[in-house]
Symmetry: C2
Subunit: 296 residues, 2 copies
């Protein structure tokens, strides 16, 4: 896909996502006594980020044949709310105890541990409200979205991944892949599924796009581990070497930097191959290639 | 309603709830490496409690004309999962920092702060999975249940209530009523609404039962404040005077013990009056009266 066309579409999606998110929890206009909660939620929700997950939702909705991809914004942003809550809680002192996220102080550093915990809790609930209230989508679409999101982020998904990440339960490749699946890939897969749900896409199309997303997720995580070793701190947005400092086993420990590069390339190829029967998939192919080559 | 009949129905509901909850997250049978997460979730989920909220859901489903009240168990228990997550997080060191809940060590005392936070997070997600997967209920029913639960427990509901509870933002009656509404009543109201949703009850019936539940919630909280002052520690299950120790303003501070008793009686009467047009409401009337007279 042409560089300019890709960037244009990515920016269009991303702007729509930012506008949608910015309209949520407008504490200053509401003057409620729990205003700090809204500010804490908005602080993390609007702190930038690449918005890969919601962009994936919107593109999958478009590919699934939705009348207007903007109709999928509530689903895309619901997933981003859950993703954001997980980052806030992951950074807490009782979890990774991180002070920086995307180069900015983490939520609990700014708002305190109590408010950060509550902001995460509220973001999770609000995600389901957004799905339930999404205008002009079918009930089937909404329930499929609720299920995909709950499954991906629940006790057998993202939270289990976080438990594995914080537990010294094994350092082999299988274990690390399970961890990455649950903590990262499930949610990226859910992003694709929720886009397909919004469009009432066929089962085959949903399966292909979910497969693409899973492979993308794994490639993404390996690239992330690699950047933690070879990246540039200012570009990457968090301290280089933080995984090592925290004593975590990463794909770099198992495969080496060259092995990681090769694996990212292989998974990216597989992800693109999964799109074989999807028409008009140039954007997703380009997305996979860009993520494999990213430096932040 | 006859005492024995009331107790029989309550016990039937409660047993069904306990059995349903006990089947969830059976870590020992699954041998997963994140088994501790499941054990932490089950510890709080199965730690007793009166199960008033899910009982209310089941009875409202029955009154709404559901074919079999057991079909509403996933909704009833989804709400109980969210209620349980809120208790786990409320007890955390960064919130109320409580060591005891219902006479037992709190979740973080047993499993540590990290796991307690994650168990709460997972319980919230799993609640929505239960709703989405509920067999034999309509899509409308499920989406209404998702919406009721998300609204009641979100940034304008239960979490806002918790923020108010932890913030020194005012001690007048209006403020305390808002706090109680959000922290307690919204969820009890949602319990009734979710039962009505399961049965596809009429709008009028749902409104009446929701009104009953809201009034019941406020009466319940005032009685709770009263028991914190005049209760018996062993019966009540938590230390008497803990509200005062934590410097919280309660309804006892505003109304006195006699004033609280009168207010509980008044609200209970109003709750029962809200059932005026509901046929076969003897169980709910008895429930309101028993909660007003409870000592634990």
């Amino acid at each position: 896909m042409d560089d300019r066309l890709f960037q244009e579409r990515y920016d269009t999606y991303r702007s729509a996502i930012e506008v949608y998110l910015d309209r949520l929890f407008q504490s200053k206009k509401m003057h409620v006594p729990w205003q700090d909660l809204y500010e804490s939620m908005r602080y993390s929700l609007l702190s930038g980020g690449k918005r890969i997950r919601p962009v994936l939702t919107l593109e999958c909705a478009r590919l699934g044949g939705i009348r207007d991809w903007r109709l999928a914004l509530p689903f895309a942003c619901a997933l981003e709310l859950v993703h954001t809550y997980s980052l806030i809680h992951d950074d807490l002192p009782c979890m990774d105890n991180d002070d920086l996220r995307r180069g900015k102080p983490t939520n609990h550093v700014v708002f305190g541990e109590t408010m950060a915990t509550l902001a995460g809790d509220a973001l999770q609930a609000e995600a389901y409200r957004l799905i339930a209230e999404a205008p002009k989508l079918t009930k089937t679409a909404k329930l499929d979205a609720v299920w995909s999101l709950a499954w991906a982020s629940g006790a057998n998904g993202m939270v289990a991944g976080q438990v594995l990440d914080l537990t010294d339960f094994g350092h082999d490749r299988e274990t690390l892949t399970t961890l990455c699946d649950k903590k990262t890939c499930f949610m990226i897969k859910a992003a694709a599924e929720m886009g397909c749900a919004a469009a009432n896409a066929s089962r085959e199309q949903t399966a292909a796009l979910a497969q693409y997303a899973s492979l993308l997720g794994l490639a993404f995580q390996i690239q992330d581990d690699l950047l933690d070793v070879i990246g540039d701190e200012a570009t990457f947005g968090k301290p280089i070497g933080s995984d090592k400092d925290e004593g975590k086993t990463t794909f770099v420990d198992l495969l080496g930097t060259d092995g990681c590069r090769a694996e990212v390339a292989r998974l990216t190829g597989e992800a693109i191959a999964a799109l074989h029967d999807i028409a008009d998939a140039a954007f997703l192919k380009e997305l996979a290639q860009r993520l494999a080559g990213r430096s932040k």
